[in-house]
Amino acid sequence: MPLRDITLDDIESLAVGAWVLGTGGGGSPYLGLLNMRALYKEGYKVQLMPASELADDDWVAAVSNMGAPLVGQERLTDSRTIARAVELMESHTGHKFRGIMSLEIGGGNSIQPLMAAAHLKRAVIDSDMMGRAYPEAQMTSVAVGDLVPFPLTTVDVRGLESVVEKVPTWKWMERVSRKICVEYGSIASTCKAPRTGAEVKKWGVHGTTTKAIAIGHAVREAQRKHEDPVAAILGVEPGKILFKGKVMDVERRATEGFLRGRTRFDGTDEYRGSNLELNFQNEWIVAWLQSGESGAKPVAMSPDLICVLDSVAGEAVGTETIRYGQRVTVIALPPPPVFLSEKGLQHVGPRAFGYDIDFKSVFA
């Protein structure tokens, strides 16, 4: 399949679908969407390219915005900053990028490559490195694949630009780049280690922009026709309903730069009489179900995607904004296969988040 044009309507859907794939985190795509609306109005256009179209020796840029969502709410997002991070990487490495991909399809980072691609007139590669949202740099498919973690460029809109030339591990990259980000004011546009076409084809999580658009399109269509949006999502994705309920309690605490906590739900409809607890670290990580007399059992966990959806609107509910009384449907979506290997689970399985339980997939 060759390149295809992304319409503005696709981007409207992408914003909704990427928020679902954000599994509770990833930041809102709203400001990215506003930027794309402005760019399309000015005549810019973006094309989507499947990874399979890449030659092995092509180079691909991987981008993301890093930092505190709250700072983003004040500084907003300038579409040119992420493009600058890509340009800086090109001039630093001397590679000319064929396309630009997202580090993280879940949440606001889904739209970052589109902004860069519009300004630099490159294709957006229809793959990412998480298939969802995760809080840390080593929680990616390329880290599981032990690909080189450097170099990395970071850009602040005031003309602050740095390159992290070399680090021994992905964890070091996380630490060093986070420090730079804090100095910038806790927000930075970043271009991660460039990947070859061969690497993207082998280690990318494929088709995720298309997937996010399809999910968002299903939700928006269902809203328009007053149909069940959750059923619409399950019509385009092989997901499973885990629970329907009402939020009873939310407990949040900020530790080591993450938002951690738990949310408890009381069952409604066919789940009346049982309870669900979701633990989160920026994103939803583990779901515990209690029904009847028996103790709570883990029923879903990372890397399976746990998505909390507003039962009526079908839109995703985030860990920062969820609150008592909301009626939600909790669904699970299948994880990228790359995370299901022993190595993959070391990076993103329940133990990577401090839960001493063996991974068992909802879809096993």
Binding site: L31, L34, N35, A38, L39, G67, A68, P69, L70, V71, Q73, E74, R75, L76, T77, D78, S79, R80, V157, R158, G159, V182, G185, S186, M248, R252, R253, A254, G257, F258, L259, D266, N282, E320, T321, R323, Y324, G325, R327
Partner: protein, 512 residues
């Protein structure tokens, strides 16, 4: 204490006189086209009873939907100059970028973006480019713009750049009317800026409306200061309300809830305000409506500031009733109830008809609804109760049964026993709860800010101090202040134990 409360609604202008904590007189008059005639009529008829003879009135508190209607209907809006301090950030998302096009075309008089703003930790983001602000001011002057909205990155934390820019503009345009986004609080530049620009767009209307209100009071022969009720159930002195009209946007629904609290004597309860077409459900916490914590759209513009958290459903005294299959609302005959309802010779079966048939209300011609048997009436009431119960449950913030105060003209739809409700309370003068709420309003102050390197307790107390000062500035007596809301949220990703604290305090209007 003797106060007059007036609520100018879409259909009726309600007025009450409260003396030493008691409702002495309540009355309804149709809302007039020009609003002020209705107010004058209400004041005159309150006075006509001789009730006010020789008595000192401490305040006339008016709640109005005038300002929000202007935005929704796109009328009486002023052209605004938008000045944002935050370059080089977000140049691709200038002021007005997410407004509906028709409204932006009406309001936007020009956009200026210059360097300035702060970081979350108080460092300047960029030094304020004073020369650029002055140049912008000259350009505004040339275009004849007098209403200016200024926004700046992280201005709720540090408003100094916005204030300095306002000074510089006033040097060039001495009669400029300036809204600083920091006066409207909340973190979230785009939404705060939007609220500021809407506020600036209401500058002329606000000046004229408040002047007309003052004239109505004077013409009625009452010598009392004017207060305008706010979204959060408090009042502002006329001078401050004139400056920040957006704070009056949702005062009608809030006044009903505050009135319900006052008339029932309850501080914590759910309130259901059943009107003709819609029912608003909200929760009282410490006698005030709980606030919405998220983005609220006004006339299509995303804003984020003090608004009550309400759930509106299509249920009321004028709701259409369909018997087979059973359906109540959301359509309504609205203000045509006394013409279109079956008991009044019309053709549309309404909830009021059902109430007349079952003897709950004595209105209209009961014989016209005699075909509705007791079982049918019971089914309709049960459906109305079910819709209400669902709305109440959605608005709860914790599990367990809660007390419910039922007010508004359609309160007869609320039964005495409901699921999830421990007790249903109907109050005297419940149909004028909104005007009562206006009459008893207090003054508030708010702080929403990020605090660093402080213990949680220190941060909350610092926020309290700021909120107290703001309340006093707004006209409250310091010795009556109490905290009614305190919320803190640890911030992920930010270093240094950052915590965002939001505190709101209220107090009685200070004696003038």
């Amino acid at each position: 204490m003797r106060r007059i409360g007036i609520d100018v609604g879409g259909t009726n202008t309600d007025a009450v006189l409260i003396e030493d904590g008691k409702v002495v007189r309540a009355m309804k008059a149709p809302t007039s086209e020009d609003v002020t005639t209705g107010i004058l009529d209400s004041l005159k008829s309150l006075g006509s009873t001789g009730l006010l003879e020789g008595k000192k009135i401490d305040g006339v508190m008016i709640g109005t939907t005038h300002f929000i209607n202007a935005v929704v209907q796109r009328r009486h809006l002023t052209k605004v100059a938008a000045l944002r301090l935050g370059m080089p950030a977000a140049a691709s998302l200038p002021p007005f970028c997410d407004w509906p096009e028709d409204l932006a075309a009406l309001v936007c008089g020009g956009v200026w973006m210059v360097e300035g703003g702060h970081e979350y930790d108080g460092r300047p983001f960029m030094p304020l480019d004073e020369a650029a602000v002055t140049t912008a001011a000259h350009e505004m002057k040339e275009k004849g713009l007098k209403s200016v909205g200024i926004s700046s990155i992280f201005s709720p934390l540090d408003p100094s750049h916005e204030r300095r820019a306002a000074e510089l503009i006033l040097k060039v345009i001495p009669d400029a009317v300036i809204t600083c986004s920091s006066d409207l609080g909340r973190i979230g530049l785009l939404e705060r800026e939007n609220a500021g620009l809407l506020n600036a767009a209401l500058a002329d209307l606000s000046r004229d409306t408040i002047a007309a209100f003052e004239k109505s009071i004077k013409d009625s022969g009452i010598a009392a200061p004017l207060f305008i009720t706010q979204n959060d159930g408090t009042v502002a002195e006329a001078s401050q309300a004139r400056r920040l009209p957006v704070y009056s946007f949702a005062s009608g629904a809030t006044n009903s809830m505050r009135g319900a609290a006052y008339l029932s004597g309850l501080q914590d309860a759910m309130v259901i305000d059943v009107g003709g077409t819609t029912t608003d459900v909200g929760q009282l916490k410490n006698g005030f409506p709980r606030e919405a914590n998220s983005v609220v759209k006004v006339g299509g513009v995303r804003t984020l500031f003090r608004m009550p958290d309400l759930l509106s459903i299509g249920l009321g005294g004028g709701s259409h009733v369909q018997l087979d299959p059973l359906k109540v609302g959301p359509l309504s005959v609205g203000y045509k109830l006394l013409k279109d309802g079956i008991a009044f010779g019309g053709k549309q079966l309404t909830t009021t008809d059902v109430a007349i048939a079952s003897g709950v209300l004595s209105l209209g011609d009961k014989s016209k609804v005699a075909h509705l048997d007791a079982a049918t009436c019971k089914k309709v009431f049960a459906e109305a109760a079910r819709l209400s119960e669902e709305a109440i449950d959605r608005m709860k913030t914790e599990a367990g049964d809660i007390k419910l105060i039922a007010v508004g003209g359609g309160a007869f739809l609320i039964p005495d026993k409901m699921t999830g409700v421990s007790e249903v309370i109907h109050v005297e003068h419940g149909d004028c709860a909104n005007a009562v709420g206006a009459a008893i309003a207090q003054v508030s102050g708010e702080c929403d800010q990020i605090f660093k390197d402080m213990t949680r307790v220190e941060a909350i107390s610092a926020a309290q101090g700021i909120a107290n000062d703001r309340a006093v500035a707004a006209g409250a007596a310091r010795n009556t202040l109490s905290t009614i809301e305190s919320e803190d949220m640890p911030l992920a990703y930010l270093p240094g134990n950052s915590v965002r604290v939001r505190v709101r305090v209220v107090g009685d209007v200070a004696a003038s």
